[in-house]
Symmetry: C2
Subunit: 105 residues, 2 copies
């Protein structure tokens, strides 16, 4: 339990690389609140985001194994987004961060 690692910041730095962007964290949060959201639903939830930014964020989140993209073969086309287990395990930590932010900012 003693944090012996001298390079403590490396893991956090990786996390920051992933969530340093403007939208990805918010997107994860929205999906966690309502799994199976579609593209435009997600766009409405994440206020202010544009098509291109949402597309980019989704792509990287999928590549990082944080969300799952499920394409339904229907007309009109529909795609649903879900969190991976990795992303879900991150949520409690984010809740803690949220508390800290509210108390200290």
């Amino acid at each position: 339990m003693v944090q012996s690692t001298s390079n403590w910041s490396c893991g956090v730095a990786s996390v920051m690389d992933i969530f340093g962007g403007k939208w990805k964290l918010n997107i994860l949060w929205r999906i966690s609140q309502h799994e199976g959201l579609g593209f435009n639903q997600l766009k409405r939830e994440v206020e202010g985001i544009t098509n291109i930014m949402l597309t980019r964020a989704i792509k990287t989140l999928v590549a990082e194994n944080l969300i799952i993209r499920k394409e339904l073969k229907v007309t009109p086309p529909r795609t649903e987004y879900y969190l991976t287990a990795s992303a879900k395990s991150l949520l409690p930590i984010m809740a803690a961060l949220n508390e800290w932010g509210k108390d200290n900012l």
Copy 2:
């Protein structure tokens, strides 16, 4: 304890605004490991950082009430840096983030 807030991400977004930069988190960590570091000591600890980037990061961290800058009136001049209580309360969360990063990236 139930996370009732619908705008959960707002607090986290503020945190990310603060730590989205490349250096600030690493600087906090170094100071936490060795309170009272001087400018050049800190520069050596935070590998790769330049004078100007360190200066900028320190300024914003002070402004955000995350570190304390203590200027000693001696020759040659010396300045020491310490964490505020706010910053210290953040460390356990960062440790959790670190664990997550190592397990999931």
